[in-house]
């Protein structure tokens, strides 16, 4: 209950901030629309020459690109993205002295309402594309895909947070963080499944998110997977989430012992 209250307060605070700097708020909306337009132009340019991209139509690729945007925006709306800065600058001290679970507080602290708004934009774009291209989406597939999008965020986020935790040992690890992020982001606009089994195996091992968080939700939404397989993936994702949460908790508190509180 205490955590819920903190989350609500952080959300309200973020909204007030966004509303105070309205020009930034409106312009960020324009940026997101321009970004979506860029995705559309890119995909449209490719599909001028081919009707399908290794089994994916133009509408399906657009759905994929916008849905991955929903997942990543949800992660970037959390405060975790600033962990390296908190550790290297000593700003983490402020969070450590509060009588709340630090891992939770890190996520709620400096939550970004604008990124949350971007994820809503992504959902709207998915609907528009689905209607325009008359894609095979059912109520069941939409529900299952929504569940998969939400539960697969930790698969994308926890490895990134664990890399950021290395800042407790090595200081500024922005380069390493950027390198790992480049793996995820390289497969954000095109599904890894169009690239052959070898690439899928390598990159699903390096970053399971490119498969579990990016491709599987879209395949569930587009009914490219049966509901039995969809439930199997949802169950496996939950199991993986639990394992990753345990690993994160252990690693975070172990790494915290190295924290000097000064930067």
């Amino acid at each position: 209950m205490q955590n819920w209250n903190i989350f609500k307060r952080a959300l309200t605070q973020s909204f007030m901030n966004a509303w105070e700097y309205r020009t930034d708020f409106y312009s960020s909306i324009i940026v997101q629309l321009a970004y979506m337009a860029t995705i559309f132009v890119t995909v449209y340019t490719i599909f001028q020459f081919v009707p399908f991209l290794n089994g994916w139509s133009i509408g399906e690729i657009l759905i994929f690109a916008f849905l991955t945007d929903v997942s990543s925006s949800l992660f970037f709306s959390s405060g975790y993205k600033n962990l390296i800065e908190y550790v290297t600058s000593g700003e983490l001290n402020l969070l450590l002295i509060k009588p709340v679970n630090t891992i939770f507080l890190l996520g709620a602290y400096s939550i970004g309402i604008i990124d949350l708004l971007f994820s809503i934009f992504g959902i709207v774009a998915v609907f528009i594309v689905a209607i325009y291209y008359s894609l095979n989406i059912t109520a069941l597939s939409a529900i299952l895909a929504t569940i998969q999008v939400i539960i697969s965020i930790p698969i994308f986020a926890i490895p990134l947070i664990m890399i950021m935790c290395l800042a407790f040992y090595w200081g500024d690890v922005n380069n390493l963080y950027g390198l790992y992020q480049s793996i995820n982001f390289s497969f954000k606009d095109y599904p890894v499944t169009i690239m052959g089994k070898f690439v899928i195996t390598i990159f699903a091992f390096l970053s399971p998110a490119v498969l579990v968080s990016w491709v599987i939700p879209t395949m569930i939404l587009l009914n490219k997977l049966s509901w039995q397989w969809s439930l199997f993936f949802i169950g496996s994702t939950i199991l993986l989430d639990i394992i990753l949460f345990i690993l994160l908790k252990r690693f975070f508190y172990r790494a915290l012992r190295r924290y000097e509180g000064f930067g």
Partner: protein, 263 residues
């Protein structure tokens, strides 16, 4: 000799050399930045490779051969740069930092041109070498010319960014405006795909803009699809002069309304 003396006097080349030296020392202090830069290149190129491999091998109407399109993306993706690289400088107007530049015995335009040029070129050295080697192996000497024109085109790119920076005298901390421009420049410069693949109406507009000189023309020269002519060199020279003039006008009027106060 007179030309060199004029450049030394009016453009203060020694400032540029100092800036280059500073960025080089910075790079030596943090060599992992080169690894990150190469990592983005490598991981980002993989999906592009598969997507364009599929497009080039599955249609007869595609204007590029498989080798050409892959080398085009090796060039543009390897040497990719955007306003984002210089984001630290874009708040210098609103937070008042720009006053430390105004007091230098060099125009703001030239000062920022040097900062941007050196700040982009030095960390790109590893990628530039990779691109040149790939080009020499697969294409021959045209790769050297293409890389040379990329370095010349970088002047145009940096002058465009300086102009956008000076627009912040009017737009303040409006990062949305800056990112929308960045996306438009990315498309118009041919960073995302060759401009001749774009729908006809977009091509008609882009042809009159200077951005094509940043990536598209150097990439075409790199591929050996464009010959160096006096007209081409003149086009580069004219745009450098025009953009420099535009920057100086923006600098003049921007400083006139500047309050030198911020936080």
């Amino acid at each position: 000799m007179l030309m060199v003396m004029w450049m030394q006097k009016s453009l203060k080349i020694n400032y540029f050399l100092k800036q280059l030296n500073r960025d080089w020392e910075n790079l030596k202090a943090y060599p992992t930045r080169l690894v990150t830069s190469a990592g983005w290149f490598f991981f980002g190129f993989i999906p592009l490779f598969f997507v364009w491999y599929f497009v080039a091998t599955n249609t007869g109407a595609f204007p590029y051969s498989l080798k050409e399109i892959l080398l085009y993306f090796a060039f543009t993706w390897g040497l990719f740069y955007s306003i984002n690289y210089m984001r630290g400088h874009f708040n210098s107007i609103t937070n008042g930092d720009i006053v430390t530049k105004v007091i230098r015995p060099i125009s703001l335009t030239t000062n920022y041109l040097y900062i941007f040029y050196s700040g982009i070129l030095v960390p790109k050295i590893s990628n530039l070498l990779i691109v040149i080697i790939i080009g020499l192996v697969f294409l021959g000497p045209s790769s050297l010319l293409g890389s040379l024109f990329f370095i010349i085109g970088l002047i145009i790119g940096c002058l465009v960014y300086v102009a956008v920076l000076f627009l912040m005298f009017w737009f303040g901390r409006n990062w949305g405006f800056k990112y929308v421009l960045d996306m438009l420049i990315s498309i118009s410069a041919g960073q995302l795909f060759p401009l001749d693949l774009l729908p006809g109406i977009i091509q008609t507009v882009i042809v009159f803009l200077p951005f094509k000189l940043m990536f598209y023309y150097p990439a075409k020269i790199f591929l050996g699809q464009m010959l160096i002519s006096w007209t081409l060199i003149l086009e580069y020279v004219v745009w450098v002069i025009v953009l420099y003039f535009v920057c100086r006008v923006l600098e003049y009027f921007g400083l006139r309304r500047y309050e030198q106060l911020g936080g």
